[in-house]
C-alpha cells in the first residue's frame, strides 16, 4: 500500500477532474430538467470543440484565448442547433427515445472527428497548466484550480439561477409540466433554447478542460463525460449539489486508484462502476423503477 505522501498529488488531480465531472453533470441535469433530453452527445460536442481549438492554435496560428472561446461557442452553437432542429419533433416522445437520438449526434461528431483529426496523436496544454504553486510538497497548476473552481462555481450559479431568475423559474416549471407551463404563457421554445445553449456552452468548457486534464482523444472524451451522467444520475437528474458531490467523488476515486498498483490499470473503470452501483442501489429503493402501473 502506498504511503499518504504518494496519494497527495492525486488528491489534487482528483479534485480537478471531479470539478469537471460536476460541471458536465450540471450541464446535463439542467438540460434534462428543462427539456427532458439526456444529452449523451455532451462529451462528443466538447471533444470536437477542443479539437477545433487545437487546430485553430496549431494550424491557423490563432491567439489561444480566441481559440478557447471558439471551443466553448462551438459547444453552445452545435447543441443549440440540435435542440432547435430535433427538440420539438421529439418533444412528446419517451425520454429514452430522446436520449438515443442524441447518440445520433454523438456518432456524427465522432465520425467527423475521426475523419478530420485521426492522422496523429495530439495533446492540448492550456497555458494555465504551465503555472502553478505548491501546497505542501504538491505542485498545483492553475488548470486544476480552474477545473475545481469552475465546477463549484457553475453548480452554485446554476442553482441560484434556477431558483431566483425568471428564466430559471420557467425552466423548473417546464421540468414539472410542459403543457401547463405553455398554457401559463411561458415561451416554451425560448426557455428550451436557453437551456440548450447554456448546456452546450458548458459542454464546450468541459471538453476544453477534460482535453487538458485527461487527453485529447475523441472516444475517451465522449464516453468519459457519459460517465459524468453517473454523477447526474446519482442526483436522480434533479439535485445540482448532489451532482457536484458525486462528480467530486468519481474524480477522487479515479485519481486515488492511480498509485495503488494492483488496481491502477483498472482505475478508468471507476466512473462506470460507481455509476452502476449507484443506479442499482437507488433502484433497490424503488425511486427509479417504473411506478407499477399507477402514478
Amino acid at each position: 500500500m502506498p504511503s499518504w505522501q504518494d496519494f497527495q498529488p492525486f488528491i489534487v488531480t482528483g479534485l480537478a477532474l471531479g470539478g469537471v465531472f460536476s460541471l458536465s453533470g450540471v450541464g446535463m441535469v439542467v438540460l434534462y430538467r428543462a427539456t427532458g433530453v439526456l444529452n449523451l452527445a455532451f462529451g462528443a460536442v466538447g471533444a470536437m470543440g477542443a479539437f477545433i481549438a487545437w487546430s485553430l492554435i496549431n494550424d491557423q496560428g490563432w491567439p489561444q484565448g480566441i481559440a478557447y472561446l471558439a471551443c466553448v461557442l462551438f459547444g453552445g452553437v452545435v447543441t443549440l442547433a440540435y435542440g432547435m432542429a430535433f427538440g420539438p419533433p421529439l418533444a412528446g416522445r419517451d425520454p429514452l427515445v430522446k436520449a438515443v437520438a442524441t447518440l445520433g449526434l454523438a456518432l456524427i461528431l465522432l465520425g467527423a472527428m475521426s475523419w478530420i483529426w485521426s492522422d496523429k496523436a495530439r495533446s492540448m496544454v492550456l497555458p494555465t497548466t504551465e503555472h502553478g504553486f505548491n501546497v505542501g510538497e504538491v505542485l498545483v497548476n492553475y488548470t486544476q484550480v480552474i477545473g475545481l473552481a469552475l465546477g463549484i462555481a457553475v453548480t452554485v450559479f446554476t442553482a441560484a439561477f434556477l431558483r431566483f431568475s425568471k428564466l430559471g423559474t420557467a425552466m423548473r416549471a417546464l421540468a414539472d409540466d410542459r403543457e401547463i407551463t405553455a398554457a401559463l404563457g411561458v415561451p416554451v421554445r425560448r426557455v428550451e433554447a436557453a437551456a440548450w445553449l447554456g448546456s452546450g456552452l458548458l459542454s464546450g468548457a468541459a471538453g476544453l478542460l477534460f482535453s487538458n486534464l485527461v487527453g485529447l482523444d475523441a472516444a475517451t472524451l465522449t464516453f468519459l463525460v457519459i460517465s459524468s451522467v453517473a454523477a447526474a444520475l446519482i442526483a436522480r437528474l434533479r439535485s445540482l449539489f448532489v451532482t457536484l458531490a458525486a462528480g467530486m467523488f468519481i474524480g477522487l476515486v479515479n485519481a486515488l486508484a492511480t498509485p495503488i498498483l494492483s488496481i491502477s490499470q483498472y482505475r478508468d473503470m471507476a466512473p462506470f462502476v460507481i455509476a452502476t452501483i449507484a443506479l442499482l442501489f437507488l433502484s433497490r429503493h424503488g425511486t427509479l423503477s417504473t411506478a407499477k402501473g399507477a402514478r
Binding site: 407499477k292 402501473g293 399507477a294 402514478r295
Partner: protein, 249 residues
C-alpha cells in the same frame, strides 16, 4: 366473495382511498362514483398495481394482498382497463389465450376450445387469426373482455368497458356482462359512468366519493340514496379529468 376491510391508499399528500370497507357477495356488482372518487385506484389495488397503506382483502378465502400482481391474475383475478389494452400486434386468439398460457389454466377443454368459447360468449365475430390492430374499437373491447373471462376466472374487474361505445353496442355488452357470473362462476365488479348499464347489470352497487364508501346495497335502492345523488349532482359539472392512480399507458 370479496371482503375488503379498512382499505387506505396514500400517494404523497393525497388519499384516493380512505378506510374503505365493503363486501362483494356474488353475481355482478356495480362500483360507481364521480370522477376522482377512487374507483380505478380501487381496481389497481385489487390487481396489485398499487400497494395500500393499510387494510386487507380476502377473496374466496385467499389473502389477495399476499400475492404479487401477476400471481393474482394466474389465480383468477382478471380485469379490463379504462383505456382498452388489447395487444395490437397479436392475433385475437393469442390475446384471449395469453391468460391460459401463463396461468396454466386449461379450463374445461383444450386451449383453443376455451378461446373460441370465450369469443363466442362475448359475441366476437372475427377470425381468431385476425390481428388486433386490424379491428375496430368495439371488437377490441370485446377482445379485452374475452381475455378477462376465458378459462376459469374467479373475479372479473371491468373498468368502464362501455366507454366510447354507441348505445346498441352498450346494450349488447350489458347482456354479456350480466351473464358472466352464470357462464363462468366468477364474481364481476363493474365500474361505469353509464347508470343505465349499471342498473341493468348489477343487483348490488357500491358508491365511492372522495375515497370513501358512501353507500352500498341493492342497485335500485342505492341510486335513490340522497347522499349518492348529492355526490353526483355536486360534482357532475366539474369534470376533474383523469382519476388518481389511473393506469395511463
Amino acid at each position: 366473495m370479496i371482503t375488503i376491510t379498512d382499505l387506505t391508499v396514500r400517494f404523497g399528500g393525497v388519499t384516493p382511498l380512505d378506510g374503505v370497507t365493503v363486501t362483494f357477495e356474488s353475481g355482478t356488482c356495480g362500483l360507481i362514483g364521480p370522477n376522482g372518487a377512487g374507483k380505478t385506484t380501487f381496481f389497481n389495488v385489487l390487481s396489485g398495481f398499487v400497494t395500500p397503506a393499510s387494510g386487507s382483502i380476502e377473496a374466496f378465502g385467499e389473502d389477495l394482498l399476499a400475492k404479487t400482481h401477476f400471481r393474482r391474475a394466474r389465480w383468477g383475478l382478471r380485469r379490463t382497463f379504462q383505456t382498452e389494452q388489447a395487444i395490437e400486434e397479436l392475433t385475437v386468439a393469442n390475446n384471449v389465450g395469453m391468460v391460459l398460457d401463463h396461468a396454466h389454466d386449461s379450463g374445461g377443454g383444450s386451449r383453443n376450445e376455451e378461446i373460441v368459447r370465450a369469443m363466442d360468449f362475448v359475441g366476437l365475430d372475427v377470425a381468431p387469426e385476425a390481428k388486433v390492430q386490424t379491428l375496430g374499437a368495439r371488437q377490441r373491447r370485446l377482445v379485452e373482455v374475452a381475455r378477462a373471462i376465458v378459462g376459469q376466472p374467479k373475479v372479473v374487474l371491468l373498468d368502464e368497458p362501455a366507454a366510447g361505445l354507441p348505445d346498441e353496442e352498450t346494450a349488447h355488452l350489458g347482456r354479456v356482462i350480466q351473464s358472466i357470473p352464470q357462464h363462468t362462476g366468477a364474481l364481476v365488479i363493474l365500474v361505469d359512468h353509464d347508470m343505465s348499464l349499471v342498473s341493468a347489470c348489477c343487483e348490488t352497487t357500491s358508491v365511492l366519493d372522495f375515497g370513501r364508501l358512501i353507500a352500498s346495497g341493492p342497485t335500485a335502492h342505492v341510486l335513490r340514496d340522497p347522499d349518492v345523488m348529492r355526490a353526483y349532482l355536486g360534482t357532475e359539472e366539474v369534470d376533474v379529468g383523469d382519476e388518481q392512480g389511473e393506469v395511463v399507458r
